[in-house]
């Protein structure tokens, strides 16, 4: 039983390391702020959760605090990326796109009108 848990934990740790590396690579290679945010936040959230759960499988007696860290990362990391994207859109960073579709512009305009009137 313990050996099986050990193999599962090792697999989780290896997957997590690969995804952390891919998230950092996306930050270096992507062309614009929003795509960088996408790559850097989603891939690195999966990588961190997978690595920490792998350590939890290797040490079942530490599992309570590890579960707290995993839940906290799963809640907090999308929240911070959302706040960053909203802030930099309102600051005036234009999204990189070939199609020219920008649906958030209309919503921001409507919201500003409601606030000012």
């Amino acid at each position: 039983m313990k050996e099986i848990l050990e193999y599962i934990g090792m697999a989780f740790i290896l997957i997590g390391g690969i995804f952390l590396f891919l998230g950092a690579l996306g930050i270096l290679r992507m062309p614009d702020l929003y795509t960088r945010l996408q790559a850097g936040t989603k891939a690195s959230t999966l990588g961190a959760m997978s690595t920490i759960l792998g350590v939890g499988f290797l040490h079942p007696e530490w599992f309570l605090k590890i579960a707290i860290i995993v839940i906290f990362i799963g809640v907090a990391n999308p929240l911070s990326s959302h706040a960053l994207a909203r802030a930099s859109y309102r600051k005036g960073v234009i999204p990189f796109s070939k199609s020219g579709i920008d649906k958030y512009k209309k919503a921001v305009k409507k919201q500003n009108k409601k606030v000012s009137s």
């Binding site: 050990e6 090792m10 740790i13 290896l14 997590g16 390391g17 690969i18 952390l20 590396f21 998230g23 950092a24 690579l25 930050i27 270096l28 702020l33 960088r36 945010l37 850097g40 936040t41 690195s44 959230t45 990588g47 961190a48 690595t51 920490i52 350590v55 290797l58 040490h59 530490w62 605090k65 590890i66 707290i68 860290i69 906290f72 990362i73 907090a76 990391n77 929240l79 911070s80 990326s81 706040a83 960053l84 909203r86 802030a87 930099s88 309102r90 600051k91 960073v93």
Partner: protein, 85 residues
């Protein structure tokens, strides 16, 4: 068993180096904040893995506190960029 830790720590080290490059190079302040966010996530994960390698339970507390402080810092930076602070 031991080779997996070497592979994972090497990948994490390359990831930290790459996001430091983006942190220095980034054209706007938003890019720098994203690089800082990814850096703090990688350091949290590597802290938990170090707790397993060194068999020290106290490092998990360090990872928890580091994660909370990184989250609060990113929220404050985002509010500052938006101009609401």
């Amino acid at each position: 068993m031991n080779i997996i830790y070497i592979i994972v720590f090497t990948l994490m080290g390359i990831g930290i180096t790459i996001s430091m490059i983006r942190f220095v190079k980034g054209p706007r302040s938003g890019d720098r904040a994203i690089a800082l966010d990814t850096l703090s996530i990688i350091i949290t994960a590597s802290m938990v893995l170090l707790a397993h390698v060194f068999e020290r339970y106290i490092y998990i507390d360090v990872a928890l506190i580091y994660g909370v402080l990184g989250f609060v810092g990113i929220i404050v930076i985002a509010r500052y960029i938006e101009g609401a602070l």
